[in-house]
Point group: C2
């Protein structure tokens, strides 16, 4: 209780560690040792007793964070705009966040992790720690947390919400319906880190831009243009394609603007790879070492790099081939069979049953597909986790793409059944998305309730004899512990919950774009849906899930390519739809020869697109060379530069500009 | 003569200054002053009397170049692989060229220019210099060379050949027929700079790769595959498209490999823009100043940048629209009229006459088009000269594209006249390219001969009374002075002679790719032609022209995009050709509705391509910010870093690796 009282003057608690409730015995209790070590490291520890567990809440004053950042050799933006290694003595040289704090949430999280995992047994001999019933031997130089996690004493370490900021965000963002697509992006960035903020920026901009084609689509549907009616659909088609192309280009601009505002250095391409390797410090270090080692024999090193590069490509190519072939050979026939049965069955009850079976089957298939993809990706030697995540995104999206659109195309092209097509589109857009939003928000709540219920039951079982009813929930941190982790439905270890959000957006974009000519008002439905989607997603990460672990990604990554791919596909599908719409009598017959050549043309255009992505533009060894150079330079002049900057800034503040 | 004798120990003469022969009077002769000033600057001056002019040959010891480089604040690759400002005291820290010299030819050229243009009147009052008949008043702080050029006393300043290296290159490159496509690229780079070396590397690789489709093309033409004959052409089509895509991707890899070998830092995108601004130091300096000035008011600065950026885009868009409209409205009808007349005229003599008139007319048109393009580009506010050059390339290529291919397409599609088509292709590939190579080499020789003849005649006229016959050519530098400058046929100030070479290559690539299915053996002709082209081009720049001014460009720039565009176009044209070839009976009829939709599809795919290039991904102000930061950092830590590097290198040489 004392701890809670002085909470206001202290930095907020941002990390939680869960340990089971123990019967305190004589000897050195392991949790006490952990708390001691945390406090020795400079962390402020708050202890909260829960139902069955005890929670250690951790907070760190800025000096402690700074020390950890310097140990981590964290690169940070300085006043002159260059990223340099952090030094606590020269803290003035570094740019502050927009909320006045020195470190961003992502940096703080890395520092916390470094401090928590950095606790090792510094004495020469093993220390015996006591737990409930067993003894734990803490070997010299062994990380304490790792040991306790292995022994099952530390159940989990997770970031916890900052209640004040969370409430603020709830009020001005999730529950603020007046600003249609305006969101407090800076605050979101400060609270959740770049990746989540970028997602909401994208969603907001997309929704904003959707209003134009929505209005045009409604116009095209509702107004009768008389003799010009024939031209309306082609015109609409041309407009939305241009709209989509411009939208994505302007998004890229907005993305780089946001990164400039948040002082994140992220130039596309090689530098980004460097940035990520930096994150995984150990792997980078070993890599730099290997470069140094063979530095003498340059040509051999080059050869090694080339061999590894091509081997990696072969592996990735093989995996992609497996996925593509299995989608075409297994999923395509299945989807076509369903669409065909749906078309041929007369009775509504049978249709309903078929759909139920189908929905059950695809749930199962998608899970298998996701698992296979994750396994394949783990075999690949990808350079960094973001690259791995992108690889997964492409593979899983392929699955969903087939699942979502093949049936629609079947109705449209083979049966020219536009009524069914429109029905399915409306169904997807309204019912399924409303349901999805409900599900997305209720499922985590149900999980939370279930865990809470189980915990209460456990407690009751144990404390049967004691006073029966007490306020079970005296701590916020326990509530958060019961909430589910914000994770992807496929491959939890590779992606976070944003995967599902982006997937939903991409599938929506695909549906409205690919069948734009068949059903123009779809854009209006999508716009309406997205306005609620912003709130629903905000509510979800604010209230329904634990605070997500911040990630370094600073662009929407693979999804941008997927959106661009969908534009190209929608050009082709809309053309086919127009042919079907205008050629009801079937007198625009295409002979097999012509069809073959048209198909060949499109396949070749696809090959042109895909192949030029297969071969990377820059050999790996050139990239490795550059990375080595960049690090060397930065490490070398870091200190000197810092002195210069903090010195110079002093003169700037006093008003005298430096002499030329 | 004495000068020539000690030539071997000295650095080679690399720059020539042409002044007229004067009658030396009393007073301060301006040329003597110029020579004095050159020698004061540390340059070694060789004076050679020619027929009507006197030649000052300049050479610079490495110390003098180093001093100039330091004054220029030249960025140079250091031993640790980072580009830093050059300092003469720390010269050991910088990487040497592969031939052992400290500066590359491009850097030397900049230093020479800096020294030659840097001679100003340092005294407080004007100095009166005497020339043949008039007095020149050299004002204080006025550059001497600029003054003398204005007065017509300094006729020209140009880089001169290094006879030893030139002879070496002639032997191992231009006259070496055994290494088919192997070229001594490192020597070419050392002698001509990056841009020319990159051109020859591209030409060599292109020719090398051409052998595969050449063999396949001959096979497809000569062998009868019996019942599979129908499949040969589509298969060939698919193969060459894949071939072309892979070729361009591997070229990009090779390009970056070459740049890594030559220690040129050139990451695509923003950094390159920075690199170029660096080249034009003055413009960069003013830009940096303006950034600093308004640095206080960030949002206003941002707005200014945005306004300027979009204004520039509008201007460029307008210019492009003008060019495209005039090509479509003026050139297209003309080309079609010629093709139609050629098709409809029966008599061969009339055809011959028509072609003569046509050839005369297009020469004229292209010149006009080129001039208009250059004028339009000058209005545009392009950031740097390389960007301007690219803009010109796109515009002029548009012209040539129409000129070269519309006639061919007319024969192929409207008349299905494959005989004429093949005739024209063979004609183009063999006759015109052989003729072109002859012309390219003989025209400069004729120009050279004419200028020599005129000079000799002038001399004879003047010296009628004196001894009649003397060895008129005692100096190599005078011969070079008579040779024409290596410049583009359009817009001399924007591009050098490589423009014509690349244009030739691109048109050849277009012809063989776009009509691949109509005439597969074209690849073999092209391959043969290119083997000779390598030698012809080498001979041209080694013997027929003056030594070209080195340029900074490190990639093939706009031409890469043009090659990629040609691949996409060739997918479409080959499809049309296949339809024409297989549908002789005309029973694959396309109804107007279907045709309209197919056309719309292709137009939209084009729009997708083009539009995504219109909007730049990164706003100008973000780019400007980054540039500012990069420069600041580099300037700041430059000296400190250098000391570290040269210190460290010392220990490396003595064998002790630095401590960790």
């Amino acid at each position: 209780m004392k701890m809670e009282a002085i909470h206001e003057e202290q930095p907020p608690f941002e990390m939680g560690v869960v340990v089971p409730k123990r019967i305190v015995e004589e000897g050195i209790d392991c949790v006490e040792v952990l708390v001691d070590e945390f406090q020795k490291a400079g962390l402020i520890v708050g202890r909260v007793a829960g139902l069955n567990d005890e929670f250690l809440k951790l907070a760190a004053p800025v000096e402690v964070l700074g020390k950890a950042a310097a140990e981590l050799k964290l690169k940070k933006r300085t006043q002159i705009g260059v990223d340099l290694q952090f030094e606590w003595d020269e803290a003035d040289a570094f740019v502050k966040q927009s909320d006045g704090s020195l470190f961003s949430w992502c940096e703080r999280f890395r520092c916390y992790n470094h401090m928590i995992c950095g606790i090792v047994n510094k004495s020469g001999s093993a220390i015996v720690l006591k737990s409930d019933c067993k003894d734990v031997s803490w070997e010299p130089r062994e990380p304490l947390l790792w040991k306790l996690e292995k022994e099952g004493i530390v159940k989990e370490v997770f970031p916890i919400h900052d209640e004040i900021k969370r409430k603020q965000l709830l009020k001005c963002w999730a529950l603020n319906w007046w600003d249609l697509t305006n969101q407090p992006l800076d605050e979101i960035y400060a609270y959740y880190g770049a990746k989540i903020a970028i997602y909401f920026a994208f969603l907001g901009m997309y929704t904003n831009w959707l209003f134009f084609p929505a209005a045009f689509g409604l116009l095209a549907q509702l107004v009768d243009f008389g003799s010009l009616q024939l031209l309306v659909l082609p015109l609409f088609f041309i407009c939305i394609i241009s709209w989509a192309v411009f939208f994505l280009q302007f998004w890229k601009r907005k993305n780089s603007t946001l990164l400039a505002r948040w002082q994140i250095c992220y130039s596309v391409g090689a530098e980004s790879a460097y940035k990520y390797m930096d994150t995984e410090w150990s792997s980078f270090h070993s890599c730099a070492g290997s470069i140094k080692m063979v530095g003498a024999d340059k040509s051999k090193e080059k050869e090694k790099f080339q061999r590894e590069e091509w081997f990696g490509h072969m592996l990735r190519f093989r995996n992609d081939a497996i996925i593509i072939l299995s989608i075409i050979c297994l999923q395509l026939p299945f989807e076509l069979a369903y669409a065909h049965l749906y078309e041929s069955i007369e009775s509504d009850i049978m249709k309903f049953g078929l759909t139920a079976v189908y929905l059950f089957a695809i749930q199962y298939f998608t899970q298998i597909g996701g698992k296979v993809s994750v396994k394949l990706i783990k075999v690949e030697k990808n350079e960094n986790s973001e690259y791995r995540a992108n690889s997964l995104i492409y593979k899983v999206f392929g699955l969903y793409f087939m699942q979502s659109y093949i049936g629609l195309l079947y109705h449209a092209i083979l049966h020219r059944n536009f009524m069914t097509l429109r029905q399915v589109i409306i169904q997807r857009l309204i019912i399924s998305e409303v349901l999805e939003n409900l599900m997305e928000n209720s499922l985590p709540y149900m999980k939370y309730s279930y865990r809470k219920y189980r915990a209460v039951r456990n407690k009751r079982k144990r404390e049967k004899g004691l006073a029966a009813r007490k306020s079970y929930f005296n701590s916020r941190v326990e509530k958060e512990y019961f909430k589910p982790v914000y994770s992807a439905s496929v491959g939890e270890e590779l992606e976070d919950g944003l995967f599902d959000e982006f997937l939903e957006l991409a599938l929506q974009f695909g549906t409205i774009m690919m069948f734009a000519c068949a059903f123009p008002p779809a854009f209006a439905f999508a716009a309406l849906n997205n306005v609620t989607e912003i709130r629903a997603d905000a509510l979800k990460i604010l209230a329904m899930y634990r605070r997500p672990v911040p990630r370094v990604a600073a662009t929407i990554g693979a999804w941008l390519n997927i959106f661009q791919f969908l534009i190209v596909v929608s050009i082709c599908t809309n053309c086919i739809l127009l042919v079907c719409l205008y050629d009801r009598e079937g007198n625009w017959n295409i002979s097999p020869g012509l069809a073959a050549i048209l198909i060949m043309e499109h396949v070749l255009l696809l090959i042109k697109f895909v192949f030029s992505r297969i071969v990377p533009e820059e050999p790996d060894w050139v990239k490795a060379n550059r990375m080595k150079n960049a690090t060397q330079a930065q490490n070398m002049c870091s200190k000197q530069l810092l002195r210069n900057i903090s010195g110079r800034r002093g003169t700037l503040v006093t008003g005298t500009p430096q002499a030329d």
